[in-house]
Amino acid sequence: MNLMKDRFLLIIFACVVLAAPLIFAPTGAAYPDLLQRFAIYGIFAIGFNILFGLTGYLSFGHAAFLGVGSYSAVWMFKLLSMNIVPALLLSIVVAGVFSLLIGYVSLRRSGIYFSILTLALAQMSYNLAYSVLTPLTNGETGLQLRLDDARVLDAAGDAGSLPSTNFFGLEMKEVFWNPTVFGYDLQFNWGYYVCAILLIASFWISIRIFRSPFGLMLRAVKTNQTRLNYTGISSRPYTLAAFVISGMFAGLAGGLLASMDPLAGAERMQWTVGGEVVLMVVLGGMGTLIGPILGAVFIKYFENIFSKINDGVLHGWFAIMPEWLDNAMVVIISPFVGKGWHLTLGALFMLVVIFLPGGLVDGAKRIGRVITGANRRAAKVGIE
């Protein structure tokens, strides 16, 4: 029964993701750049949830793996080929090795000490990327493509313009279909579909891990490590494996960010990025399958759409009202939108943590229960 439910969830999820350019059209978010971000940060959050949601180990350092993934991918574009496949593979491998090192050190402690260690190590990587590692990271400017890069596998193309990233010839930034449906201009873009397929694959992997004996052990780590150790299980390798898996997901996300836009800067490794993924997972529902993706979409939507609502747009909304009321409404609402979008997000986050500890997924379940409860009551009345 569980198996059927998981399959159903995966199919629904895949349909929604593949149809996203259509589904998001009415929300104003259906442009390739933002849809790619939804999918990429969804992958990042899925991976983070395997560590944080299952084992309860809260890492603030996952931005480091995202950054490392981006740098590896850009180096692959510079040296080998503009094809994204080798770039993504290298991102995953390098982020995996890097997370093995950081995980090995920080998992010697648990709780708040673990969080602080990951935060410190990530912040260290960020500062190194800015200073000592400049030959690798190009410091403040960020790592970019140049015309005179080697790219040994690519045939010398037309010089004079930078080549673009591709998947065996399909260019990431190309919009391959541009229909108009219900008055909305839809853009179907190769880059988004690469991200979408990888998001669906990540979601499938996450379902399998959740239902596996490995996932069961990770949940056991969260609830009672003492009992687990006295049951003959060594918890350290399990937490380390979870840490590396989530690091590899972060590396994949970083590699994808670079594949969509081939440049990498140190700001991607800053702790605020690592903090953001924590918000995504908590907001969506930690330890749930779909929650992290909901959280990622929610936060990225706020960051990109809500932040663009300025006073002009607000005046447009309230244009039908008398002028004094229009002005009053704009004064009241404007601190919460536009540049103030963080305020709304913060308030929402607080509301969710206080009233819906299980996140958005918990909220959806409660609503579902109210509806089915109402249905059941209605059915009962019908029988009587």
């Binding site: 569980n2 239902r211 490995f214 949940r219 009672n224 009992r227 150790n229 003959g232 390798p237």
Partner: protein
């Protein structure tokens, strides 16, 4: 040659000599009770056996194998299980999942990345888990949340988790502490029931003399870090040193 041999174990905490040259020989198949007044060093001793504490000197051998310096999970994999004073279970998981974890540990060892197997499709593990729950009379509660069980059921679940690993030695740290008389009697019955169908050596640390004299085949008395007497229950009852150190405090 006993299944558990402890020789000359010493443990010092600062100025306190918690264990002073403790020797213990537990015969296979016996129920060996370790009693003693508060602060006698019973818990320290148990923690030394299980790998939580490392004694300063001395040796502990299980089945002829030295276990000192080994980690708790390694000692468990050798066949030693422990029941805690307050039941340690996975409160966020279901009863069924709680029992499956030791099944996996028993079959797959201390660490295995089987991230693509499915728990619910593992017939062997499910069967084992269902059998032990049936045996312990908890089958109808198998989908319950372990955290919502009554204290007695938590204890029962913890025992099930230990037994499903088919341990050679079961260590029980005050299994009836804080229980009402009826629950204590249930626990005694449970332990007797366990003993009937399986040949498991047990070491019990206990305060309640009623429990000790109903179950134990051998009793050792620990006082101020030293074993002051050892023998059959009847011998211990009449032992003058024991009366002085311990039994005099309570009605026997």
């Amino acid at each position: 040659m006993g299944i558990l041999e402890v020789q000359n174990v010493n443990k010092r905490f600062g100025g306190l000599q918690a264990l002073n040259n403790v020797n213990l020989d537990v015969a296979e198949g016996s129920v060996h009770a370790l009693i003693g007044p508060n602060g006698a060093g019973k818990s320290t001793f148990l923690n030394c056996l299980i790998g939580k504490l490392k004694p300063d000197t001395g040796s502990v051998k299980f089945n002829g194998q030295p276990v000192l310096g080994k980690k708790p999970h390694e000692i468990n994999q050798l066949g030693v299980s422990r029941v805690f004073q307050t039941p340690e279970i996975f409160t966020d998981l279901s009863v069924f999942e709680n029992v499956m974890i030791p099944c996996f540990a028993h079959r797959d060892g201390a660490f295995k990345v089987n991230a693509f197997a499915r728990v619910m499709r593992d017939k062997e593990i499910r069967q084992q888990a269902e059998d032990i729950l049936e045996d312990m009379g908890m089958k109808e509660k198998m989908n319950a949340h372990a955290g919502s069980l009554s204290r007695g059921d938590k204890r029962r679940l913890e025992m099930a988790m230990c037994l499903v690993q088919e341990p050679k030695l079961l260590l029980l740290d005050e299994p009836t502490a804080g229980m009402a008389r009826a629950d204590t009697n249930n626990t005694i019955d449970l332990l007797k029931h366990i003993g009937e169908s399986r040949n498991i050596t047990k070491v019990i640390i206990e305060h309640d003399m009623h429990v000790v004299f109903s179950l134990a085949t051998t009793i050792s008395v620990l006082a101020q870090g030293t074993i002051i007497a050892e023998g059959l229950p009847d011998e211990i009852k009449g032992h003058p040193k024991v009366r002085e150190a311990y039994l005099g405090e309570a009605e026997v």
